[in-house]
């Protein structure tokens, strides 16, 4: 599904990613953990194609295709979804209208007609039930005046609507109380299949109790310094990141 080779990226003069190697297969859940400033969100943004970051070395492949010259919107059309750590507000544009536009733009890119209104409504009903979202919420302006939890739940709702191949959840657990966390995690679990993959970026082990990863990677100073199974996450919870930082120095 996703293959990253020796990826280096910088913003302005600052090198943030310093040689990332990562392979994610269909059906897998990967967790990327690491201290603040280790490059987790940058990695997510680079996979999504944010132009602010300059790739100085290495490649990102999606299903064998090099994404080098692919625009963010085309990456989205190919099935990459990023759940933002800080979702932006778009005043005056309802969640429904935003989703309708997003879905139809993707369909247009694939040479399909707009989704008929009837099917769209059905899809919205289905997915909002899955994430226990009040329908009234969908007519509100996108993220405007949403609580932290509502914003994150809205991100996962969008993921459900767009049915991506590769979903990257960037600190989706931050700002969520325990009930919201459970709802969001349940949603992600229900959407998981053998054909798609999920990358969960998080500081804490808490979310991984609900979304159980097949692999855990620790990112430090722009590199993956350790990979393992879900037990690694527990170990990190217990010992913190410092032992790894020391280990890499050695």
């Amino acid at each position: 599904m996703l293959k990253i080779n020796n990826l280096h990226a910088r913003v302005e003069d600052k090198e943030i990613l310093k040689g990332i190697n990562l392979t994610v297969n269909a059906g897998e859940v990967h967790a990327i953990m690491g201290p603040n400033g280790s490059g987790k969100s940058t990695l997510a943004a680079v996979i999504a194609g944010k132009e602010e970051f300059e790739i100085t070395k290495g490649e990102v492949f999606l299903e064998g295709e090099n994404l080098e010259d692919t625009s963010p919107e085309d990456r989205a059309h190919k099935g990459i979804f990023l759940s933002f750590q800080y979702p932006v507000e778009i005043p005056g544009v309802s969640v429904t209208n935003f989703m309708k536009t997003a879905i139809n733009e993707s369909r247009k890119a694939k040479g399909l007609e707009d989704m008929p209104a009837k099917d769209m409504l059905k899809l919205i009903r289905e997915k909002s039930e899955l994430l226990e979202i009040d329908r009234k919420f969908l007519s509100r302006s996108l993220n405007e005046g949403f609580s932290g939890g509502e914003k994150k739940r809205n991100e996962i709702f969008q993921m459900a609507m767009l049915e991506p191949k590769l979903a990257i959840l960037d600190e989706t657990d931050s700002g969520l109380d325990i009930d919201a966390l459970r709802i969001v995690a349940n949603g992600v679990n229900k959407l998981k299949s053998k054909d798609n993959a999920v990358i969960v970026i998080t500081h804490y082990q808490r979310l991984l109790e609900y979304i159980v990863p097949d692999f855990v990677h620790v990112l430090h100073n722009g590199k993956i310094v350790k990979s393992g199974t879900k037990d690694l996450a527990l170990e990190l919870e217990e010992k913190g990141y410092d032992w790894l930082k020391q280990e890499t120095v050695i």
Partner: protein, 481 residues
């Protein structure tokens, strides 16, 4: 030639001008320049009664002594008023034989707006075969209106057929001496629309210049007069979302609305005159005076979507004369490239318990300058007047400008005035967020702009709103990149 009023009257009474020394201006386009002879000739050409000719001449006299205003936040080379021809016969001859001859860029825009082939032909000035459908629509339309006693015709026709109404109301809201362009328009107006809704009648359909049969050649000095008699209601649509490639650079229209006791007028405009090219060359100067008068319990609501013209100078206003009357102004003004707009409204509160609402949305892109200028005036006798104003500006890029000039004059202590203003910029984060969801930058901007303009778009009649939305999208194409 200096006339006194009396001399002039006498001369006109003898009708010498019909056969006399004016005959040399018989051609379809008058020579450049403006003088009394030209004014008289325009009036004669339109077969107007004497009172109208006199009114025009009076206007011309006033105009001659006025100077072009300079207070607006716009810069342009002033037109040479003696280098303009003030009358052209309505263009009956089609400009083109088929659509193949029309500028492909224009056709492309038509296509994006979803305009039908027949309409495209009509708008571009291509010869159209008789379209049974549109003829029958227009006929049914006229019949329905006539049954209700509604008069809807060109102002030239109204001057001849309904002189008592025109005489009573023309210049009653926008006097000849109101301003430089209004005086000019009063002297030389080419044509325009007239509408009268009788007492207690609710006009059953949106009145639109589109349906008026002899709409061709309203020209650069348009004059519109809408009268809603006591307890009546009318919704009037002006303009067209299709780009108007007019060769006349100067447009100075006057629109007067009269809402008598308990009447309501809703006036919606979509204006898309040629804004000039990307380098800022060419383009229409649009200097418009629009004003409405509200009597007791009456309501006037202006809604405008302005995307065109190189220079816009326009302030649709309400005089809230009657007690409990209501004035509303909802506006979206888009400027791109080198466009300049100075637009807003005036709400003059004279009566008791009068209310006004102003919602202005300015969108600036490219190197354009977009100004809101508004006046809220509460007279000493206007007890309990209320106003709410909201001016939002949206900037795209770093080279455009948004300006707000709100004037508030309150002479009565019971007034409640609220003013809110915001300025925002389309952020890269917003664009990337949309991109990530599969929405390209162009479409993302359209979405954000539509969201920003929603409160105003919602005030437009349904079919107009859809077109206006598309128009916003097209106007901002290529503004980011």
């Amino acid at each position: 030639m200096a006339y006194t009023e009396e001399e002039l009257k006498k001369e006109l009474e003898t009708k010498e001008y019909e056969y006399g020394f004016y005959t040399d201006i018989e051609s379809d386009t008058f020579p450049n320049g403006l003088n009394e002879e030209i004014v008289i000739a325009i009036s004669k050409k339109k077969e107007e009664p004497e009172w109208m000719t006199l009114w025009r001449l009076q206007s011309f006299k006033i105009w001659k002594d006025m100077v072009e205003p300079e207070w607006a936040n716009v810069k342009y080379k002033k037109p040479d008023f003696q280098a303009i021809s003030y009358y052209s016969a309505p263009n009956k001859k089609p400009k083109y034989e088929s659509l193949d001859e029309v500028d492909p860029e224009l056709l492309d825009t038509f296509k994006k707006l979803g305009i039908s082939l027949d309409e495209q032909k009509k708008l571009a000035g291509v010869a159209v075969d008789i379209v049974m459908d549109s003829v029958s629509v227009a006929t049914t339309f006229k019949k329905t209106l006539a049954e209700k006693g509604i008069i809807f015709c060109s102002i030239s026709e109204a001057i001849k057929e309904h002189p008592e109404l025109v005489k009573k109301y023309i210049g009653s809201v926008v006097p000849q001496k109101d301003n430089f362009y209004a005086a000019l328009n009063s002297a030389v107006f080419s044509d325009g629309s007239f509408c009268y809704i009788p007492k207690g009648v609710r006009c059953p359909m949106e009145l639109s210049t589109y349906f008026r049969i002899n709409q061709a050649g309203t020209g650069q000095f348009e004059r519109t007069l809408v009268i809603a008699d006591e307890g009546s209601y009318v919704s009037y649509l002006e303009g067209c979302t299709a780009p108007s490639r007019d060769e006349n650079q100067l447009h100075a229209a006057v629109v007067e609305l009269i809402a008598l006791d308990d009447a309501e007028i809703k006036y919606s405009t979509v204006q898309n005159w040629f804004p000039g090219n990307k380098e800022g060359q060419g383009g229409v100067f649009n200097f418009v005076t629009k004003r409405g008068l509200c009597e007791k319990n009456a309501k006037i609501s202006w809604t405008q979507v302005e995307t065109g013209s190189a220079v816009t100078w326009k302030y649709p206003s309400c005089i809230l004369k009657g007690d409990n009357s209501i004035g509303e102004f909802y506006s979206i003004a888009v400027t791109n490239n080198y466009q300049q707009a100075d637009t807003g409204t005036k709400m003059i509160h004279l009566g008791k318990n009068t209310r006004s609402t102003i919602i202005s949305k300015g969108i600036s892109a490219g190197k354009s300058q977009n100004s809101y200028r508004g006046l809220v005036q509460v007279n000493s006798r206007a007890e309990n007047a209320r106003n709410f104003s909201q001016c939002d500006s949206l900037l795209m890029g770093n080279e455009c400008g948004a300006h707000t000039f709100p004037y508030i004059e309150v002479k009565n202590k019971s007034a409640q005035i609220e003013h809110e203003a915001t300025t925002s910029k389309i952020g890269e984060d917003q664009i990337f967020y949309c991109n990530q969801r599969g929405i390209n930058t162009e479409k993302a901007i359209a979405l954000i702009v539509n969201g920003f303009s929603k409160e105003v778009l919602n005030k437009l009649p349904m079919e107009f709103a859809v077109e206006a939305q598309k128009l916003l999208e097209i106007s901002l194409e290529g503004s980011v990149g």
